[in-house]
Symmetry: C2
Subunit: 204 residues, 2 copies
């Protein structure tokens, strides 16, 4: 019997800077272990309703200022471009639905679209919450923007995003990015080395 491909969840929000940075790493990490990262978009706003956590903009200024500095510093250490967006946080309901619609209808296009959407926000200082930005990203990825706009309004696609947030709550996901491997949570860009170690142990 062939063993199934090992898989971990990669919960992310398109407006989360550390999600953006982790998105550049999780697939390579998975590949090193012959595993697969399952990309699951969520809305931090929905998650924070469960946990009563505060968004960055509501944090004490000592911590908020540190965080913005640390986004840039972490990006430099990973050699990834980062420009803190003028609009922050952004409304990611539509881009998350667009990603889920792509996963269902054109799965091979989904990752490239996600990375392009992240780049629009965190490299080119655009607001992915705007329909015109989203359409431009789709077009640049060879995706029909009108079909995508219709997909975003599809009740089944809307239900998929409700479902990913419910799955996150069931797995006690309280932030993003968060990877989950066999029920074990790895919160933040800085816990990818811990996930790497867990995948190594699992193979040994």
């Amino acid at each position: 019997m062939q063993s199934p491909v090992r898989q971990f969840d990669f919960f992310f929000d398109f407006t989360s800077p550390y999600s953006y940075l982790a998105a550049h790493r999780v697939d390579a990490l998975a590949e090193r272990h012959g595993a697969r990262a399952r990309w699951v978009p969520v809305l931090l706003g929905a998650i924070f309703k469960h946990t009563q956590a505060l968004p960055l903009t509501a944090l004490h200024p000592w911590k908020a200022g540190y965080s913005v500095m640390d986004f840039g510093r972490s990006a430099r250490l990973l050699d990834v471009s980062y420009r803190h967006p003028t609009v922050f946080p952004q409304n990611t309901v539509s881009v998350a639905r667009a990603f889920l619609w792509l996963q269902r209808t054109q799965p091979r296009a989904a990752r490239a679209f996600a990375l392009a959407a992240f780049a629009a926000t965190f490299e080119h200082d655009q607001d992915i919450g705007r329909p015109d930005t989203l359409a431009a990203v789709a077009t640049a990825c060879g995706i029909d923007p009108q079909a995508m706009a219709a997909g975003i309004q599809d009740p089944e696609v809307k239900a998929m995003l409700v479902a990913t947030n419910e799955e996150a709550a069931a797995k006690e996901v309280f932030g993003a990015p968060m990877c989950v491997l066999d029920g074990e949570r790895f919160w933040g860009l800085d816990r990818l080395p811990h996930l790497d170690a867990a995948l190594t142990e699992a193979r040994a």
Copy 2:
């Protein structure tokens, strides 16, 4: 003119698990760069009064449970013993004052005492907030426990702990462990690699 030894602050609280883990790393990190870690005890309770942050025990259970798990996981990856203390958090006013008293009167004994106090809490499940635990740690380190008890009550030593907390606030320290190098903050065990990179850049 000889260049002065480069130095960074290591703000820590004796009841902070990641401070305990970082305490096993900061001196070696500093030495690799010919630099010096200046150990500065603070009280997270005093810091959280500034920032309105919540202690671990007041966090949402999804996050609190994750944190306790992550303390042990992080320790395993560093190959450091860790047992989550039955009494948590602990009152660290006396142990912090004892450390400051040692820094002034027997500076060579201070680091070993700090590591022994951390070990009492995070390896041997003792409560460093109890006078008998503190006295036993002192004795084991060859320090006169009665002289230490008197030192803890010395108004000048009490003022030193007020001063370290004020210094932390002035440097916008909002958590522990936090290292500060030339005004740049590095929060958490997981930012020691960032500090390492900053010290490398500074030498280059």
